[in-house]
Symmetry: C2
Subunit: 208 residues, 2 copies
Amino acid sequence: MIFSTVLDIEPTPAPTPRQRRHEQTRAEILDAAWRLAEETGIAGLSLREVARVVGLKAPSLYTYFDSKDALFDAMFAEGYLQLGAAVTEWTATEADLEPADALGTVIGSWIRFCQHSLARYQIMFTRAIPGWEPSAEAYAISVREYQRMAEALAAFGITDPGDLDLYTAVASGLAAQQIANDPTGDRWVRLAPTAAHMLFDDIERRKR
Amino acid sequence: MIFSTVLDIEPTPAPTPRQRRHEQTRAEILDAAWRLAEETGIAGLSLREVARVVGLKAPSLYTYFDSKDALFDAMFAEGYLQLGAAVTEWTATEADLEPADALGTVIGSWIRFCQHSLARYQIMFTRAIPGWEPSAEAYAISVREYQRMAEALAAFGITDPGDLDLYTAVASGLAAQQIANDPTGDRWVRLAPTAAHMLFDDIERRKR
DNA sequence: GTCTATAGAATGATAGAC
DNA sequence: GTCTATCATTCTATAGAC
């Protein structure tokens, strides 16, 4: 899925071949940026390197992105759109489970989502890039996708703001530990069911 | 407390005045580095800026640190030594509380510790510096201080490795959310007692 | 759209005088 | 120990030819 068409709200007119090529190159640049950021960390990303991987010279990137910050912006937004798509998928596949067990699979999937790309995790959830923060437009996308996730959690009885904060802390903490201390393993993924039951039971108990 | 004397294992001979001045300047450099990293993020730290704050020129820093990485190493080790000292303090002041309540104060203090310095948090717990990782010596200090923390948690019945991993996930998750989303407030600090009881009760229940 | 050339700035680090 | 001078590199970004 191509970033800038996703952002369009008005019905898009059929793209010309020129526009198609433009979007495709843009997508290739983004893809190269993700792969490089995976190796160097998001803060170590270099436009020259991105250009080299795509087979362009650095100045040519400016045809597709106004600045390095704009590239970061596109990556940030893309990460949150991927999260939204993943949440939709998770909540569709928990049909016949007990709520606490279903929450366990959601948390496990969440950890895997974070683990899948260190660069994506860094740009979405940490402040790893000195001097950069998302633009208002990109930030709005993150807020929207967060809300979507919050709505999905309501199905598990997690509606109280404090409970939501507790949930995000537990889920993000599991992911952070997994990434920092066992980046290729499942040491904290395995704890997802236990954590889910612990959270679920505690919330239920406090409701009574 | 001055860093390099802490690292000495052999009984230290009385320092000459020259050595004292050297250690003092070294400490001033570290202090300046912390303050600057607080503003720019640890990854944005610049040796020229550090030198400027201390009142030296950049090359003079190399009398006190062999390289920028060595400065990072000293900051990393200092952070873990501060954590060790803080843990000792926390565990000494929980005398007359119920275990679950005492655990709540420990978690709250932990979040405050992380919140107190973003730079310290970044260098200790995230991989925010592209291309840098702690030396073997500095890493050994972090392992030792972690073990000290693990021993302190045994007093709360947290001894099972999985329970320890769950604890670190919850505690670090609360801190991460606090820093990322409410850096100057207490939105997740307030959840520390709830989280502590949730953890404590769950661990106790699973033991039976 | 892509390129070469380059501006302009910052960085970590070293050589060598004092 | 501290300095000046400088190296060598890297970086984002722009100007302008093609």
